[in-house]
Amino acid sequence: MKGIASYLKSILLFKPEEPKNPFVLDDFSNQNDKNTGDKNTDVSLMDDDTEKDERDAESKKNERRKKIIKPVSVKSDMEREDENEGKEDREETENGKEEKISSSLSICLEVIKKRYSADINADFKIREFKVRVKDKVYKAFVCFFDGLVESSIINNNILLPLMTLSVMPMDTEDQSVRDVIFEHLIPQNQITECKSYQEVVDEINFGGIGIFIDSLDVAFAADVKGWEHRNVEQPTSELNIRGPRESFIEISRANSALLRKILKDENLIVEDVLVGERSKTPCSIVYIKNIANARLVDEVRKRLKSIKIAYLRDSGELEQFLEDSTFLPAPQMLLTERPDRVAAYLGEGRVAIIVHGSPHVIVVPITFFNLIHSPEDYYLRYPYSTLLRFIRIMGILITLFLPAVYLAITNYHQEMLPTDLLLAIASSREKVPFPTIVSIIIMEVAFELIREAGIRIPGPIGPTLSIVGGLILGQAAVSANLVSPFLIVIVAVTGIGSFAVPDFSLGYSFRALRFIYILLAGFSGLLGISLGIFIHFLFLINAKSFGVPFLAPIAPKTTGKRTNTIFRAPLWKEEDRPDFINPKNVKQQPFISRKWVKSEKGVRVDGSEDENR
């Protein structure tokens, strides 16, 4: 889009636009030259007095200019400031990373207190105590964030052993103090030995506990996460009748566990990447090692690691940083809250990205057809799910085109309607003072308002909205002669159609595009709609999701047998994974997957040809 804009500029402007730098002030000397030049041209027009005044003013200016030693640009100032800040930050970070843990506990305590502003940070806790190792007493302290950790684990698994068990006799004479503490005194399953403060800080920030012991130049960080979170509940936006009813939650490890619970595969890899310079949000790249294409995994890893932002809060934000095209009117990734759906896609060779703090997991690459599928399609029998897909496609077509086609027919192509229907529409519009396009836009905007308000409205006053909405979109609008009853039917059906779009993001896209189609139809009837369809499809066809064409396997047509696009094949016929993803292993089940049948597809189970087919 930016390319098109700059291209149009270059065509329409006679002179190529010079690159603008908003922070650079023009050079004073140049400015002066320009002014002088301008004045020279105008000098003949000025009278003597003006000329004199002007000369005086100029001499003053020159004096002032002499006082200025060197022109200073805002950019250079800002840059310098940024650079200095960056430098400080960098130094701080580098120091933090490189600053080794001191063997003196008092220094460690001081550093930690300073790093966490412990005197004002109310939820940061430091507990000092003593440890006895090999008959010698060492000072120690632990630090953690209250609320992020599980207190009982700290008490029972960290403090209790260190403070009390250390006096018990142990055969540890040949071991160092560090080894004794690590191997005998901290009975915790996830413990890390840290050599720099930054490592400990990172662990503490993510629900860990830092353990510092005097005379040791290392610290220990134990995982004692225990923050409040939602339990695994039913999905809210992807409901189904058949199939599992678990949904992802905001905890990344719980989400990966939900996937492992379904897949039970040692080849399922969960690779962690931290995104966000400050938030350091843990994101996990999930894929099945011996199915997913290595280049695809590399691409996902590369894109994730290249993102430089301060804070990452949700997968919706990450999606916007990862997508191929920002302006394409369709999502290029699938965000789902259903573990079963992600597991199915991982099994096809796709890659999932879990973002800590988000109940939606990203799946890449996807095609347009994935977005119109529902997970329930696979749990229902083949004939039913095929019918459901048809109904869904009908819903999409209605959402996108029904108001536009109605407008085109009533304004430009009345001959298209059978006489009886034409008379019915004409009589219903008789008393309406607005042109059809205005009526449609009024009703569509009202519908969108109700929908948007319905999401934002507090629960208890929800019914009020539906009553008001019903009045606006109902009989009252007709009685007031604002719109025709026929139009009410059109808008209502359009609204219902939009709810049949299974993907939330795609639904938004269709809602927005519907208005463009209405405007095009208002401008030039069916020709306008055709133009819209042509351009819309061109953009969709041209789009890619992580290198995979968005309308594959239809445009471009790939050679694979499996075309799970509009139609769904019976499950026993889906032998291949989608070939356009280039999985390492295309075959997902044998030619005859139902071994109990005597023969299938003209071949017997033993491989011989079935003569009675």
């Binding site: 291209y7 041209n542 309308l551 471009p556 047509k557």
Partner: protein, 372 residues
């Protein structure tokens, strides 16, 4: 990721099919009826066979230049000047047919539905589609063809099918129409209806399987020939000569007569969707070829900056004819008379000369080696 544009055989065949067959929904059945009377379908059948034979000759000669387009061939034959002249010739040919077809589509759609809209606005709408198509490039255009062509072919066949009740085979008599002389004489000129075939020789470097260009061409000619003959055949059976020369848009006329029960009596308005889709595909492909040929002719680095100047040129040219009649005159009296020579005979000459020069060069090299 810097990736060279590549298209599949099916995609290329669909482009070719659309370029060759779009004229069916314009005035093609009527004009051939004017030329050969009841035997119009026979004339087109003969033309298809002749074109098929000419294409086989081209394929044979083209074997040595598979990964090159026609401009490379002309460079081999006549040097850089040859490439520039050939490029300009094809540029003129494509610009001419594009503006004529653009004006025809705009005029026709104006007559059918947008009666009060100025023709310039209709042309502007088409131009917008053309620009986006040419901007997104051959890959997007070809993939859209794959989606659209089967649907459009199905719609066309449906129109023919729903008219079955109106067909009368006796209307084809007399079988030789206006006579053998008329068939042969007009048939030669009407070879121009296949002039878009030359686009294939600009497509070959983009094919994933370059060597199968022959297959693409053969399928393209076969199916377009089939559709062209079928359209004229059915039209003549539905409207005998000389009635067949009176309808402004023959296929639209056939669509108008469709009645399915009491309710669906006016399905022809839906025809506009097919109509416009065909137009957008044809025109955007043409604009792509125009910019591509210009870029290749003058060895320019970029193609996209050429789109706006050429769309302005085509838009302006399409407004030059006074009305539809003068547009059709320009097509019939200029384009149809000369384009078959430029697009079917000239490439054979180019290929023959280039092959000869290549062979000569090889012999000289061999002689030189032996001499050494």
């Amino acid at each position: 990721m810097d990736q060279k544009t590549k298209i599949g055989n099916f995609e290329a065949a669909c482009i070719l099919l659309n370029l060759l067959s779009t004229k069916i929904i314009l005035d093609f059945p009527r004009t051939v009826s004017e030329d050969a009377g009841n035997a119009a379908w026979l004339m087109i059948l003969l033309d298809s066979v002749v074109v098929y034979i000419l294409f086989l000759i081209m394929t044979r000669l083209y074997k040595k230049f598979v990964s090159n387009d026609l401009l490379d061939v002309s460079e081999t034959a006549f040097g850089e000047i040859g490439r520039i002249i050939t490029g300009l010739i094809y540029l003129v040919q494509f610009v001419f047919i594009t503006y004529v077809i653009l004006r025809q589509f705009a005029e026709d759609i104006k007559v059918i539905s947008l009666t009060s809209t100025p023709v310039s606005i209709v042309i502007l709408l088409f131009s917008a589609g053309m620009t986006v198509g040419a901007y997104l490039g051959l890959e997007a255009i070809s993939r859209l063809h794959v989606l659209a062509i089967p649907l459009m072919a199905a719609a066309f066949l449906m129109i023919l099918l729903f008219n079955v009740s109106r067909y009368d085979a006796s209307r084809l008599a007399p079988w030789l129409g206006l006579g053998i002389e008329a068939i042969l004489e007009k048939g030669l000129i009407n070879l121009s209806y296949f002039s878009e075939l030359v686009a294939l020789f600009f497509l070959t470097p983009f094919l994933k399987k370059e060597k199968s260009y022959g297959e693409v061409g053969r399928y393209g000619i076969f199916f377009s020939g089939l559709f062209l003959v079928l359209s004229v055949f059915c039209y003549t059976m539905a409207y005998p000569y000389p009635t067949s020369t009176e309808f402004f848009l023959p296929v639209y006329q056939m669509a108008r007569t469709i009645k399915i029960g009491r309710f669906f009596t006016r399905v022809e308005a839906a025809f506009i969707l097919i109509w416009a889709s065909c137009a957008f595909l044809y025109l955007s492909s043409s604009l792509y070829f125009i910019t591509y040929i210009f870029q290749r002719t003058f060895n320019l680095k970029y193609r996209k900056p050429l789109i706006v100047p050429f769309i302005i040129l085509i838009f302006t040219l399409s407004l030059l004819p006074e009305n539809l009649y003068s547009t059709l005159q320009a097509e019939m009296q200029i384009y149809r008379i000369f384009s078959w020579m430029v697009t079917l005979i000239f490439p054979i000459i180019l290929l023959a000369v280039a092959s000869a020069r290549k062979r000569l060069g090889k012999r000289k090299e061999e002689a030189g080696l032996r001499h050494d």
